[in-house]
Symmetry: C2
Subunit: 339 residues, 2 copies
Amino acid sequence: MAGGTEVPGGGARPATSTDVAIEAGVSQATVARTFSAPHLVSEGTRQRVSEAAARLGYVPNAFARSLKSQQSNVVGAVVPAYGEYWQNVLSAVTRELAARGRQLLLFSFTDPGEVDDVLDIVRQYRVSGLLLASASIRPDQLSAMRRQSSPTVAFNQPAASGLVSSVSVDNESGCRLLASHLVDQGCRTAVFVGGVSSISTDQARYRGAAREMGDHGVALPYIEAGAFSYDAGYGCAERIARLAPDAVMVGSDEVAFGVIDGLESRGIRIPDDLAVTGFDGLPQAAWAGIDLTTLVQPTDLLARHAAELLVDTASASRPTDVVVDGHLRIGRTTKRSDR
Amino acid sequence: MAGGTEVPGGGARPATSTDVAIEAGVSQATVARTFSAPHLVSEGTRQRVSEAAARLGYVPNAFARSLKSQQSNVVGAVVPAYGEYWQNVLSAVTRELAARGRQLLLFSFTDPGEVDDVLDIVRQYRVSGLLLASASIRPDQLSAMRRQSSPTVAFNQPAASGLVSSVSVDNESGCRLLASHLVDQGCRTAVFVGGVSSISTDQARYRGAAREMGDHGVALPYIEAGAFSYDAGYGCAERIARLAPDAVMVGSDEVAFGVIDGLESRGIRIPDDLAVTGFDGLPQAAWAGIDLTTLVQPTDLLARHAAELLVDTASASRPTDVVVDGHLRIGRTTKRSDR
DNA sequence: GAATCCTATGAATACGTATTCATTGCGTCA
DNA sequence: TGACGCAATGAATACGTATTCATAGGATTC
């Protein structure tokens, strides 16, 4: 058996502000001020304290600070564990928050059924803001979190209106743009492939697409892939092929990638036999080998709005809804060579 | 009559264990025990406390708990803000940690130069474990964090040996597998495309590839893409084409996707004119439209090992290095129809 | 030259919980 | 029956910091 595992500096407890105070010959209060309100400390003292702190390797304890000051610099995020889209959102939001001096405490869930348990854990952390990837979170769950006096932002769920703040892209008009583009290309029959029909985002996208198509006399049957994943999209190919439409509008890029490959595996050529559109504007949509026509969400802009709401404590009592327009990206998947 | 579910609204400060104690007619200590050591409380009392807590909407304060108990359930993660690969790792690690009752506090950085600042912030949070996406973190920065008595794990940087624990795939043997496969396919000349040559992972992969190729008398010049991104890969096409090799081994999938599209845009057919391999085994590599030959990292397994090390407090004083083998995925990008 | 104000600091307290120590009541064993 | 052990609880304290209140000079004003 190996005995005392001697780590230099390992067993020693981290230095506290009191330790630094003694080392620098000042009071603990002065040390605290040096780090959290330097302007209240004279130049000379600040210097001495800083040196003492450096000598002892002192670093303020964020937990104690949060406890006392009743506010943390931590923003919570409840996000699905899977999904290309959410990974990108998370990445963008993290960047924006970091730029505002906030850290992100991540709570992920695999199954929507876990959300309640996760939210209970979230409550234990007195986060200064909460981001909810709400396509997967029920409205009543959203409203339960509003109790917190900290800003709460639902990402991509405009239906959350009134309960919490929200930031989202205009799903309906985005889909109208896509549908309109397809009609321009000569599309006369089409199909919509959604991910999960119970999700409000999915519904809004279908609604927009169906209305625009309807305005041009084109019917738009709905097919449910069952998940927002490549595989789910791939598995839809047969059902789509059976309907033999001019075009297929897919509710999200990730599913669309699967749909495309599924269709091509059945010998259907895109766009010659069938046009395909997506939604989200994932990075992969722009890859030359894919070049998907899609509605690009301005993720960075959305993330910036979200971060601003999360940082602004006043927004807690005044829920704000931000809706941003996406823009059309036209790729090879809808470019008919003939007509 | 469910009147009790009413919680005094927004502005009211959250209930504390003392509030619950009064409500339930017990001491604060008993309330604390009810939540953190229920077995020390009698059945009846536990019941009464739970009801009082529910009535007041009480939730334990994680910060206060961490402060007093000197340990948090929070694991820190320092990860680059961009990159498909890291997003996947993060996603996997988050899942594994959630299963172990840990939350993830995310610190992201855009530029390696920010790492020092980020690490300073990390130190403020007394995280119970720290995950370092260390391909971008210097060894001296790693060792500086070892001071913490909490487990520190470098993900994908075996060179961290001795300083902190590490979890990584066997880069060198993985690349040997890929190279060997290419030679079997009849490859006689080849090129290696790395991301950033100063990164140890990049070096290890090139080393493995070059050695295996060398064993078969094939030279392997190195080309640096300049970043681990699609665009960087796309931009390499010209330099690759100029060398006109049989095969190009790319150091990471994300770059490989770019290389493929870049080459095809120049009229080079894959795999007929040129074979391509990647490394990482990103989900996109398995997409039918891409079907890249690559070395698949067992991300879930790596994440599990990382999570276990991060949770095991003993691992702090006993750095452990875990190296796992990846497996070869053979896709269309190396399948020669003729020869 | 005193009244006043401002700056820099220290002493003391509170944040919400976990934990030690002490106390009580009760069942058990000799 | 008395000594003892155990289970359940309460009182008190400590975790590390921010902040209020008080104090001592020193500069400023009339």
